[in-house]
Symmetry: C2
């Protein structure tokens, strides 16, 4: 099956968690808004979002088309893709646990986003810099250590600590790779302080980065560089 991915073409954002799963599995997919031609491009995505003919419209991208299914919400897409791409172990308990981890990633992602947009998405960062500085300080002091500490804890408790779920690569491993990578971009000073406390996650990040399909993806033009339009933004004043 050829999957169709719909996400903003200029940023990694939440869509990157889906891209990483598709890339890790070597899946056949089209990143619709980044292509040109009939039924492609950002206009095709906007047409999908605006369509009144869809029974199951999404609140926001990313959206995945998989045959007759149109699926929204990042964690929902990953839960669907997991078994199809071999990116989650068999069994109810493992799948519930993988989803629980991914929903905690989702919560963390929203808190990361709100460090630069604590008042409103409809305002520029420059219009909420004072509030962003206050929120980011609490994020660096309390929230980032709490989330990263939890991910490190569950990694340790999973046997040899090489994967988050079971004994093979799963989609939460890929998401944690992206979290570490993004936080290193956005908060390098904070991460220099925190990384010694999360050696398991750092090692997991490194293994994912070196896995052949992900290494090839990261080196390709398909990997959009981090930038200040996305989720992870480098504003030095937020990383004191």
């Amino acid at each position: 099956m050829t999957y169709e991915m719909f996400y903003w073409p200029g940023i990694q954002g939440r869509g990157e968690f889906v891209r990483l799963a598709l890339e890790a599995a070597g899946a056949d997919y089209i990143d619709i808004a980044r292509e040109t031609g009939a039924g492609r491009g950002v206009k095709a995505m906007q047409a999908l979002l605006a369509s009144t003919d869809i029974t199951h419209p999404s609140f926001a991208p990313p959206i995945l088309r998989a045959g007759a299914l149109l699926i929204g919400q990042t964690a929902n897409i990953l839960q669907y893709l997991g078994p199809h791409l071999g990116l989650v172990p068999e069994g109810e308990a493992a799948r519930i646990w993988a989803n629980q981890i991914e929903l905690t990633v989702t919560d963390f992602v929203l808190e990361i986003h709100d460090t630069h947009h604590p008042i409103s998405n409809s305002l520029y960062y420059e219009d909420q810099k004072t509030e962003a500085a206050a929120r980011a300080a609490k994020f660096r002091e309390l929230r980032a250590p709490k989330y990263l500490g939890w991910f490190e804890c569950i990694l340790e408790r999973n046997g040899r600590g090489t994967h988050l779920v079971g004994s093979s690569l799963s989609y939460p491993d890929l998401s944690l790779f992206q979290i570490i990578e993004g936080l290193r971009y956005a908060f390098p000073n904070m991460m220099a302080r925190l990384e010694p406390t999360i050696p398991g996650l750092v090692a997991l990040h490194d293994r994912v980065a070196k896995s052949p399909n992900i290494a090839a993806y990261l080196a390709s033009p398909r990997r959009i560089p981090f930038n200040e339009m996305g989720l992870f933004r480098r504003y030095p004043e937020l990383d004191a």
Copy 2:
């Protein structure tokens, strides 16, 4: 099976979405932190959160124990309970869609929470009132209408518009009941303006409220009143 629910005893909070599903189905459950005796009470919940023996610890309550499974994250708990309690239709497409709706509820819930805590959970509301006023203004103007409009849209597109998924009561219907109920408590002026634009959701809310099990629950002492420790808080200055 007797389910065990772990959540803060003095608030509805995120746990209420789980309580509503258990109550609607007439399920056998123990609301552990609200009971007394051995293995009950808030200390039992705190012991569960602090335990180092659990392979799958939760980041935060609510947590559901279902036999050998210990499940965290509200939407994950509801996705598990749905089929067991008859609160989601059969079939992959319906279940993916129900989960997608519930994850959008989850996003909305976090935005509702952050109207009174835009800077940090570790500070009192009184220490972030100015920022809360700014965030709440954008919430009333942009975010609440966008989310409620989306829920109204998907309700309309689902056949006769009496349920969000399929043709019977499902857990997203219960969650939307709670959203309307909570927003009426926290933002009565905003809701007076918005409700004429969401007649389907208001009718859905009313049907859920009148369904026998939910009506009995709402009239019972098991339903904790809204208060200013919970998710939905009535601060008149945030509801201009």
